[in-house]
Amino acid sequence: MRKLVTLLFMGFILAGSLALTSEQARAADPIKVGILLPITGKHAKFGEIEKLSFEMAVAEINKKGGVNGRLIKLIIEDTTGKPDVGRSAAEKLISQDKVVMLGGGYSSSVTAATAGVAINKGFPFLVNTGSADIITQPTAHTPSGKKAAKLKKSLKKEKDKAKIAKIKKEIAAFQARADKEVERILPRFSIFRLNPPVSEYASGLEGFLAEVVKPKTVAILHENSLFGTKGAASFEKSAKRLGIKVLLKEGYDAGAVDFKPLLAKVKSKNPDLVYMVSYILDASLLMNQSMELKMNPKLFAGAAAGFTLPEFKENAGKASEKVVSATLWHQSLPLPGAKEYFDKFRKKYNRDTEYHGAEAYSAAYVIADVLKRAKSHKAKDIRTALAQTDMMTVFGPVKFVSYKQMINQNKLETYVVQWIDGKLRMIWPKNLSKTHYVYPVDWLKERK
């Protein structure tokens, strides 16, 4: 008798636990999506604006009923702006939190590192900010591809002709091997990117320079990071195309106290254009100290990133006035929902937003769309659904294509903004801009 009772009892427990794991019970669970952002650390301001935008978008999506009746739950993991922390955060989201896909990805160095984790597992990762070209180039993620890239770098410093020929041969060999290795990665290459790559950040700015400023010489300053060096290298190519002579191209370590020796050197060369690829605090210090040195080139231009955040104006004060920057988005663009997003953000958080926020907001909508279309929430099906994406967002149309060795890359225009009377205004391309650019600028008068 006693045995029977025990058996019955156990039977009940078993039945109960089975019922709990049934499909119905799981359908009520929210869908977990992992988001990698720098919530603390030196890139915290960028992480903050993206986090707020992600949360706003997901709240809207869930209010409208979520995805196929299930709510979306964001698990935001802090990368602290460091590649190693980013890697372990990605590992944790995938294996411990069991998220269905990854989103976010700020700063090129961190995103390139975390992308490696995702590729190894074939795990879908929708990048919305990390911009170095290599992130969506499959060959760059193979061991031989990495070696070839390293050799290419050493090639630049080499002067001996015999050695150059030797290194070139080695590079070719590595590249051939990388092409073979890539075949293994390719079927499950899982990185998709919403934002344009850094090599195209200045494409809008190029038009402005060619038609309005017409500079003859340029000094390029950049941070010694993946984003900084790649951004500077691609602008050097732009300058060549436009016939602008590069007088100086120099990197600096983030966190320097005094940029004056570097800026004094720039000043002594007297370039028409000063182009800077910097994150926010260095951007502010660079502008402040250029003011202290009374630099007066034709134009100060920034490569997006640090130059469009509201905090740039707060930290640089009047030194930010009339500074021009490349940008990937502006609320005045004729995109459906762009202005509404800007107004909603302002109403909800009582502060301005800019292109980083728009990227995150749109990424959330793309994620919701993908999860809706995916046959199941297995990595393979989400990858397929991502590849088939074709939708309009506040950031612009999203459709993943392949070009310039990049695959799964969204192709978008870039624009130019200028800080005019403390407000970030879009000034280029002309036919889309409501505000006329201020040029020429007398920087000395501007900052009195």
């Binding site: 650390g41 301001k45 602290t80 005094d258 020796p261 002594s268 040195l293 009374k294």
Partner: protein, 291 residues
């Protein structure tokens, strides 16, 4: 020529602050014979005090020197009294335990500040943060010039204190020979508290002076500890005059490196000098100046 002079001025002004940072460390090194690897972190705490006063009550960063220095003095005394000195009494395998302790103290300070203020970058922008004046074509940053002036005053005050006062003489005596000083009736343990407090207060002052022109986050301590260490080795361990030389040399080297080599190598230049001095002039400038 303007470029040369501008570099010279920038390097010298920055060197003044470096000297102040180095002096605190070298003082501690002289008396206790240990390297304080929490030096930059203590400076970071001083900067947070300045920042809080500025953000909450609008206190001018220069005025907050009167708060940050005494507060960090107390912090320094506490660290020495309750964390470092007890290690001397314990029978340990490693005589370097005090140094290891300072590493731990530095980490704890960083994490505590991260807990309170998060890792966000903070700055105290004042109306004069970007003020400049010009001599010919050379630009002088007003806050940095004021900083240099205050740093010089503090150095003079420190020297008067060490040379003229009873406590100062006791510190020097303890630095020269701890056991002999004890035999002469100096309370060596009390001297260690005072020295650590004083060294900490000096670096807190440097942090406070840096606040109007720079920014702040919890991890800022590490790089400054490294710089302080380089300065002390350049100047000669334990030598106050050496620290002044070391600080200004490092400031100038970084500035000239940035102008005539490349700014990318700013940190490398300091460390290369560090190695060269260790190899060819062990003992630093102290060997030349003899002070």
């Amino acid at each position: 020529m303007d470029l040369f002079l501008q570099t010279l001025v920038s390097g010298f002004l920055k060197g003044g602050l470096y000297a102040l940072i180095g002096m605190g460390m070298t003082l501690i090194m002289g008396v206790m014979g240990i390297i304080n690897l929490a030096h930059g972190q203590i400076m970071m705490v001083g900067m947070y005090i300045t920042y809080s006063l500025f953000a909450l009550y609008g206190v001018d960063p220069y005025l907050s020197l009167f708060v940050s220095m005494p507060a960090i003095f107390v912090l320094g005394v506490t660290i020495q009294k309750y964390l470092l000195n007890p290690l001397l009494r314990a029978e340990t395998i490693l005589p370097e335990n005090q140094v290891l302790m300072t590493v731990g103290v530095g980490m704890v300070l960083t994490e505590v500040m991260r807990f309170i203020f998060t890792s966000d970058y903070k700055s105290a922008r004042t109306s004069y943060s970007n003020a400049t004046f010009f001599l010919g074509e050379i630009s002088f940053s007003v806050p940095l010039v004021i900083d240099l002036f205050i740093a010089i005053m503090m150095t003079v005050a420190l020297f008067l204190f060490l040379v003229k006062t009873d406590t100062g003489k006791s510190i020097r005596a303890t630095a020269q020979d701890k056991e002999a000083a004890s035999l002469m009736g100096i309370n060596a343990e009390r001297i260690t508290y005072i020295t650590f407090g004083l060294g900490s207060a000096l670096v807190a002052a440097a942090g406070t002076l840096l606040m109007p022109i720079f920014y702040l986050f919890p991890d800022i301590g590490g790089p400054f500890t490294r710089k302080a260490f380089v300065i002390c080795v350049l100047g000669g361990l334990g030598s106050t005059v050496g620290a002044i030389f070391g600080g200004i040399t490092l400031g100038l080297a970084e500035a000239f490196g940035a102008t005539y080599v490349a700014m990318e190598f700013e940190d490398m230049i300091g460390l290369v000098m560090f190695i060269l001095v260790l190899l060819f002039l062990p003992g630093g400038f102290k060997r030349i100046t003899k002070i």
